[in-house]
């Protein structure tokens, strides 16, 4: 991974009163999504990053073969998630009784009574939203990786995938597991099942995948290919 932090941005002309015609065509311009600063972004070399000079938001960070890698990593994540759902997650032994629980059990424990809403929320945050995001990324980026035209409704699907990002809380769930382990340490003996490790692998892969995600490149490619 070559990560030069070098700024490849060139600010557009600083003329005090911008006239139409003085600026390059809008296709060559990028407005920082965070602070609206205007840039004329030349082709940024693969493997380097362009940051906004003012707010340091990463504007673009193209990587070689990024689309293919994201699709493969997202596919791996889907498989790991399916394994994590159905295999035993934690094993608890207390007073001679052993109890295995899968993530499904964690979600379904509240499925009746006043905690249904909480069950749905927990299920959504740790399973459904991460899974939906992986599938959405595969749907949008697989045709891009092959150089095909975008899939139907790829634009709203990718927008949705972006929206889901802060609500996918797999990594927070891992920390929750660690805290829970310590909380019951005095009460019972807990051991980690295979699904836990699948889940940890999934979190790590998601982190790697996000380093390949250059939103600007994806949006631009979607736009160009749909024409």
């Amino acid at each position: 991974m070559s990560q030069s932090d070098q700024v490849h941005t060139s600010e557009t002309s600083r003329s005090a009163a911008p006239r139409p015609g003085h600026l390059p065509p809008v296709e060559d311009l990028v407005a920082c999504p965070t602070c609206d600063a205007l840039y004329q972004l030349p082709d940024v070399p693969k493997g380097s990053r362009a940051r906004c000079l003012r707010c340091h938001t990463v504007l673009t960070a193209p990587r070689d073969g990024a689309m293919t890698r994201i699709v493969m990593l997202a596919g791996t994540s889907v498989i790991l998630m399916l394994a994590a759902i159905f295999f035993p997650f934690l094993e608890l032994t207390a007073a001679g009784i052993t109890q295995r629980s899968s993530i499904m059990d964690v979600v379904l424990v509240f499925a009746d009574g006043p905690f249904v809403g909480l069950a749905i929320a927990v299920g959504a945050l740790i399973v459904i939203l991460p899974l939906a995001r992986f599938l959405a990324l595969i749907y949008v980026l697989a045709p891009m990786a092959f150089g095909w035209r975008p899939a139907r409704e790829a634009v709203p699907v990718f927008r949705l995938a972006e929206r889901m990002k802060p609500w996918s809380m797999a990594e927070i769930f891992i920390v929750g597991v660690a805290v829970a382990l310590i909380k019951v340490a005095g009460l019972a003996h807990l051991s980690l099942g295979p699904a836990f490790w699948a889940f940890v692998a999934l979190v790590l892969i998601t982190a790697v995948k996000d380093t390949f995600m250059c939103r600007l490149t994806i949006w631009k490619t979607l736009e160009q290919r749909s024409q």
Partner: protein
């Protein structure tokens, strides 16, 4: 610093595509709603979600988060009592994690978002760069408050050993989860561009 706005153009807040004026209602590339058509209500949304988050945060701290039943004896513990419990067991590190995630971050977030929203209306406060930093921290760190909700869910799922021990969630788990969600929505409604408006050249 020249901005899309000061150049008389409209930049998409989602993908950065620049549009000529008059801009379409939605971004031509990503379909995001572009500013400048309907009156901007983002600040009202920020306050509304923040208020909702604050309202449900109060019962989250008063009512029990966890109901533990060991050998027929039931104990209930609130968020703070959970932290104290961990301290008693000598798990100082974990106690700190839970304390920060469930108490420091939520309360800090209420103040931070309120401060950011107020400073948009009154311009002379903290430096723009510091405010931007604060916004990034709030956005990044807010979701981690959900830890305690997951802990409760995991414990309740695992510890169902009939007579020996059962753990059930308390009503505070719901209001705390809602509080985290509402404040996340509040932070997401905040438009970071308003932080920078001061330094921009205003369109004539």
């Amino acid at each position: 610093m020249m901005t899309a706005r000061s150049a008389g153009l409209v930049g998409c807040p989602n993908c950065g595509r620049v549009h000529d004026v008059p801009a379409p209602g939605r971004c031509q590339r990503c379909g995001w709603r572009l500013p400048g058509h309907a009156p901007d209500r983002s600040l009202q949304r920020v306050w509304a979600w923040l208020f909702a988050g604050l309202v449900v945060y109060i019962p989250a701290n008063i009512y029990p988060m966890l109901r533990t039943n060991t050998f027929g004896r039931t104990t209930e513990s609130t968020i703070l009592e959970g932290v104290v419990d961990l301290l008693h067991h000598g798990s100082y590190g974990v106690a700190l994690v839970v304390f920060v995630a469930s108490i420091v971050i939520p309360i800090g977030k209420f103040f931070a978002i309120a401060y950011l929203a107020i400073s948009v209306e009154r311009r002379e406060m903290m430096q723009v760069h510091a405010r931007h930093r604060l916004f990034e921290v709030v956005e990044f760190i807010g979701r981690w408050s959900m830890i305690d909700v997951f802990v409760v869910a995991i414990l309740a799922a695992l510890v169902q050993l009939d007579f020996a021990a059962t753990i059930n969630p308390g009503i505070a788990a719901i209001s705390f989860a809602l509080s985290v969600a509402f404040t996340m929505l509040s932070a997401q409604s905040f438009d970071p561009k308003t932080i920078w408006l001061d330094g921009d050249m205003r369109p004539r």
